[in-house]
Amino acid sequence: MKHDEAEDIVKEALTDVVPEADLTTLGPDETFRDALGMDSLDFLSFIEILTRRTGVRIDDEDAPHLTTLADSTGFLLARTE
């Protein structure tokens, strides 16, 4: 998986969960749960979508690595290598 592809998947997943989100203003290292007002249910949906689209297994303990566009993209890249 290429970097841009992984980032697109992350962005699409966020848009699916928070349809009104404006990702153009979201910085790569900004915590999206705070920026987009996501709660734990939203975050679980986000994980669900990522898993469905990439086949990557994501456990509860991986949550700390999925907080920003940059680290989520990096996480997907590392797990699909």
Partner: protein, 469 residues
């Protein structure tokens, strides 16, 4: 013959606008089928049928605003669909503040029961009036409490002219409020028209409505508004009914919350308790559970907290129910309201029915579904009606504790904050544990602190055995 009436979809709802029919006359319906879409000040809700049968005459056209309890359609028994309908029972003489339609609702023998869903095709329940779920007792005028008499006096209203919706026709505070409002403003105003009037600075008192029964509609408000007007929107007929914009919806919701919460603070003597709960066992169990399951079946701490709150409500029934007409009425089931914040602002509290008896995975999937539809879609009438105890979980918003305001007529509100790591002493040893602050706001008229304490202790105990939740 049964009637499908405008349901009460919350303690703050007096009237609703029929936005759309989802059925036609002659359609067979089963209990639980959505039959109409109703717009309240707060939200748009699909309303289900409470009888099995065949839809008879549709009595109210889309775009019409009617009080809670007004018949919207007739429902004929399936087997007797072809037999002629019985003549209408003579309606009681109308009293000024309540429109005649509402009198018709009260004259019918059958009312939908919203509280106890029975299996499909079950015999029709003879239920209570929509906004009062307690048994009917025979009491007449003159039994009104001092507060109601005082309110009526203040508003200059003769109680004998007010139609009572309380037990045995007793006049309640809400009835007085309605009568006072009716004395001040035109007979009926659609919620949309009311919002529009506020936006355009139109005084509703000077308006004559052109809708059914003199109802003031958006077009009346626009006609009375000074300056440029917005293009008219379709209000009735076969077209799509007017949809309030997000801004107007937000205002309506703010207004509804303001009204209900002001009433809560005015009427309910709150007391507050809180306790810190060690979540280590519960979270370890949850992570282990989640590890073996696909993402779609995983649990969140919220599910465990809600389940514990519901089980504890079963153990301490003094907190599960409603304060009605000066006394506490315990509920038979736990209908757990879950406060859900909406992204545009505001909140709704859809209901997890029988939450104490739901298995955790079931509870979790219902929670996901309810929250998703509360935010993006449409809730059903049965999903917002009659919570017996509400939980607000503000942990995701980052706060450690919440001391909330009770939703009347409920008598308690449970709050959970964020799960945080804290130093925690166990058996003389200090460790770091995940801890949540559970709080209880309770109505001191209904219970004392000892009962509240028993409740929070139960929540704590239940969370220490997550495998049994």
């Amino acid at each position: 013959m049964a009637e499908f009436t405008m349901p009460s979809l919350g303690a703050d709802m007096d009237e609703g606008t029929l936005q759309e029919w989802l059925v036609h006359a002659g359609d067979p319906v089963r209990k639980g089928d959505p039959v109409a879409v109703v717009e309240t000040a707060k939200s748009t809700i699909e309303v289900e049928c409470f009888e099995a049968g065949r839809i008879g005459q549709l009595l109210v056209t889309p775009g019409t605003t009617v009080p809670v309890g007004t018949p919207l359609a007739r429902i004929e028994p399936l087997a007797e669909a072809d037999t002629p309908t019985e003549p209408e029972a003579p309606a009681k003489p109308a009293r000024p503040p309540r429109p005649p339609a509402a009198e018709g609702a009260r004259s019918t023998a059958r009312k939908p029961s919203r509280r106890k869903p029975t299996p499909l095709q079950a015999p029709t329940a003879t239920g209570p009036p929509p906004d009062h779920d307690h048994a009917v007792e025979h009491r007449g005028h003159g039994d009104e409490g001092p507060l109601v008499r005082h309110l009526a006096e203040e508003a200059g209203i003769d109680l004998d002219t007010v139609h009572g919706t309380g037990r045995g026709g007793r006049v309640t505070r809400a009835d007085v409020g309605r009568a006072a409002a009716a004395a001040r403003s035109p007979a009926r105003v659609t919620p949309y028209a009311r919002r529009l009037a506020r936006e355009l600075g139109v005084d509703l008192r000077g308006l004559t409505g052109t809708g059914p029964d003199g109802t003031v509609r958006a077009s009346d408000v626009r006609a009375a508004a000074p300056g440029p007007t917005t293009p008219p929107t379709p209000q009735s007929g076969g077209g799509v009914p007017a949809r309030a914009s997000a801004v107007r919806r937000k205002e309506g919701m703010r207004e509804a919350i303001a009204g209900l919460m002001s009433r809560a603070n005015r009427e309910i003597p709150h007391y507050y308790l809180s306790t810190s709960i060690d979540m280590a066992t519960a979270l370890d169990w949850m992570h282990e559970h989640n590890h073996h399951r696909p993402v779609g079946e995983r649990l969140l701490p919220a599910a465990l907290l809600l389940k514990a709150a519901a089980r504890a409500a079963r153990e301490v029934p003094e907190l599960n129910g409603h304060w009605l007409d000066g006394r506490f009425a315990a509920a038979e089931e736990v209908r757990l309201g879950v406060a859900v914040s909406l992204r545009g602002g505001g909140l709704v509290a859809p209901v997890l029915r029988n939450a104490d008896a739901l298995e955790l995975p079931q509870l979790m999937s219902q929670l996901k579904d309810l929250v998703a539809r509360a935010r993006n879609g449409r809730l059903r009438g049965s999903e917002v009606a009659d919570p017996t105890l509400t939980v607000t979980n503000l942990g995701d918003q980052g706060v450690e504790a919440v001391l909330g305001v009770i939703y009347p007529p409920q008598v308690a509100l449970v709050g959970f904050g964020r799960v945080v790591e804290r130093p925690w002493a166990v058996n003389g040893l200090l460790g770091v544990r995940p801890v949540v602050t559970a709080s209880l706001s309770a109505d001191h008229r209904a219970t004392d602190g000892a009962v509240g304490a028993r409740y929070l202790t139960s929540v704590d105990r239940l969370l220490q055995s997550p495998e049994e939740l």
